[in-house]
Symmetry: D2
Subunit: 207 residues, 4 copies
Amino acid sequence: MAPVLVTGFEPFGGHPSNPSSAVAQAVARREANGLEVVSVELPVDGSAAPARLRALLDDLRPAAVLMLGLAEGRPQPSLERVAVNLLDYPIPDNSGVSRRGEPVVDGAPPAYFSSLPLDAVLEAWRRENLPGYLSDTAGTYLCNQVFYTARHHLSATGRAPLPAGFLHLPCDESLALARPRPYVPLESQVRSVAAALDAITRRLEGA
Amino acid sequence: MAPVLVTGFEPFGGHPSNPSSAVAQAVARREANGLEVVSVELPVDGSAAPARLRALLDDLRPAAVLMLGLAEGRPQPSLERVAVNLLDYPIPDNSGVSRRGEPVVDGAPPAYFSSLPLDAVLEAWRRENLPGYLSDTAGTYLCNQVFYTARHHLSATGRAPLPAGFLHLPCDESLALARPRPYVPLESQVRSVAAALDAITRRLEGA
Amino acid sequence: MAPVLVTGFEPFGGHPSNPSSAVAQAVARREANGLEVVSVELPVDGSAAPARLRALLDDLRPAAVLMLGLAEGRPQPSLERVAVNLLDYPIPDNSGVSRRGEPVVDGAPPAYFSSLPLDAVLEAWRRENLPGYLSDTAGTYLCNQVFYTARHHLSATGRAPLPAGFLHLPCDESLALARPRPYVPLESQVRSVAAALDAITRRLEGA
Amino acid sequence: MAPVLVTGFEPFGGHPSNPSSAVAQAVARREANGLEVVSVELPVDGSAAPARLRALLDDLRPAAVLMLGLAEGRPQPSLERVAVNLLDYPIPDNSGVSRRGEPVVDGAPPAYFSSLPLDAVLEAWRRENLPGYLSDTAGTYLCNQVFYTARHHLSATGRAPLPAGFLHLPCDESLALARPRPYVPLESQVRSVAAALDAITRRLEGA
């Protein structure tokens, strides 16, 4: 049976850790409505990450894809609405590569909307007292890049309706210990992502 | 000879004024590289504003379009990169209408990039010591709506390459007098928009 | 044996609840290094709150005082360094009373520093992975008022060295569900305050 | 006749310039209600700056003192209400010296309020459409240190009522060109400080 793919990222930008990877691993220990959850840590590398993701989409043939990443400074988990065909790295990636105003995929559409059931996730969060919101931009760094890559690759391979989207996570307590900034405890982040997975896969069963 | 169209908005959200309209009027008193500048104040009305804008694009046949709007809380003028086919009003428009997760234009593409020469505008600002930056989201209110409407209508009528884009302005001094928030004096905002128009239309001549 | 006094506030400013009161009650169910913890909810009333607090200080004769309050928008629990002899209410109190540029206590000193062991609390938080920081201002509303009142009354009654100070708490999950803002789950706030009480009272024993 | 002393600071923290010094020099070219304005650039050095300031207060015998400093990130000019007897440098000073939780002056009072006519300055700003506000903390770096030093020295030398206070300035356009942050054009900052000086010295004449 097709699994659910959950991706996180390795550390970057001088941070000693990345909650997105820890959370992805934590939710992979549970099932989501009977589906296996497979977690993968992607490199913060603008060439390797998209290649790895495309291979995973083709090899695993997942039933749904939830990509996670860190958005330092955001106060709550935020579901991205839209992936844009644009790279404009604020800092170089972990391989030292910079991108300035380039497309993610040459000649591809300007944007893809998330194909996750956004309202169902928000509703699940509200039911469980887990704050979160919809975001209008996933930025122009690796997070947007893998989000765009997944939605474009699934469309290009005839799987456009498959639920796939991106969820930005705030700092966790270990990143927030360094200086005053918003954070959500890792344990609470895990609950938010587990609730999102439940909402996403419940919809799959109903289909 | 084709003019340059500059739009602003009427006041909304309880604000007594809207700098975007004052700035649009101020720059309309000058020429931009020999081109006439026509300014129009759009209503904050999700039905009337797009209709008015489409009519202007068809009647005026402008050589370039620069749309202006207020982004309360932003610290500097910000050029939008992308218009998204999505309405999700944070507050009702001035006619009391709300929109929640609807497209701007049914069945139209998910997004359009700005067709303004963004780097040329940034460069012009830097040359004149006018702070400003590129923004990744024009939001999901009227600003994004007219931006998307213009880019879509120009594409649909065979004028996709025509320079058209959106510039968000911060509060001016009169809005900032009410409470502590970032602002840029109106006079400086006028200089930023005039410099943008100069960069946009210089490019037209070179074409 | 003298107890530890922990105060919170009733709801104000349109909020349906106030985490400071819930946290105060939660920590009152535990001991702190063998000392009883007594929790009291203060009214958000600029006349009644100081009167109530002075009576508690005289009747309970506490060994230490930790006052709690809500600081909407702050990202983490923050220990206040200094109480200032100034009232300048940003909104009226719950009795509808406004104060503008008045002293807390006429003719009293301009300020009192916290007499809590601030570094010991920060150290305890760090040891338990609980983010928090020192704040340079408790504002000019009720929080600063009760903080100043307590420190001044203890000084005026010959108890200046008694550990007494103020801790601002961020929104909890129920307040943060309403809109995107930083929050810390109530359960984690309780752990932060319990750790603070432990650090404050451990010092008492060592004296 | 006694002059008005206006101080600014040299650059620090990696900034190429400091608007407080440029503004201090600009206002020194004008009179304030018939009084000469003397401007001095203080070093960002926790030993040299207070010594220099005390010498100026004793040698110049100014009729009023307005100290200026940069508060990166603040959206508008902000008048400080209170100077606190506390040093806790967020970064070392320009001589590489750090201070952590030390008093400005050993054994001196915990705080001094500004002796400037704060409401008169706010009123002058409002009249001239210049946004600005009262701040509750001057921080714990050099700005608070010179503010405290001046108020304490004037008190200690029998000149406590002399108008003396601190005004924090936001970034100017040249600092804001580097990245998106609030700023106020230098020319507008000069007008704000000139208006403040006018309000401060008008009061002197009326005395």
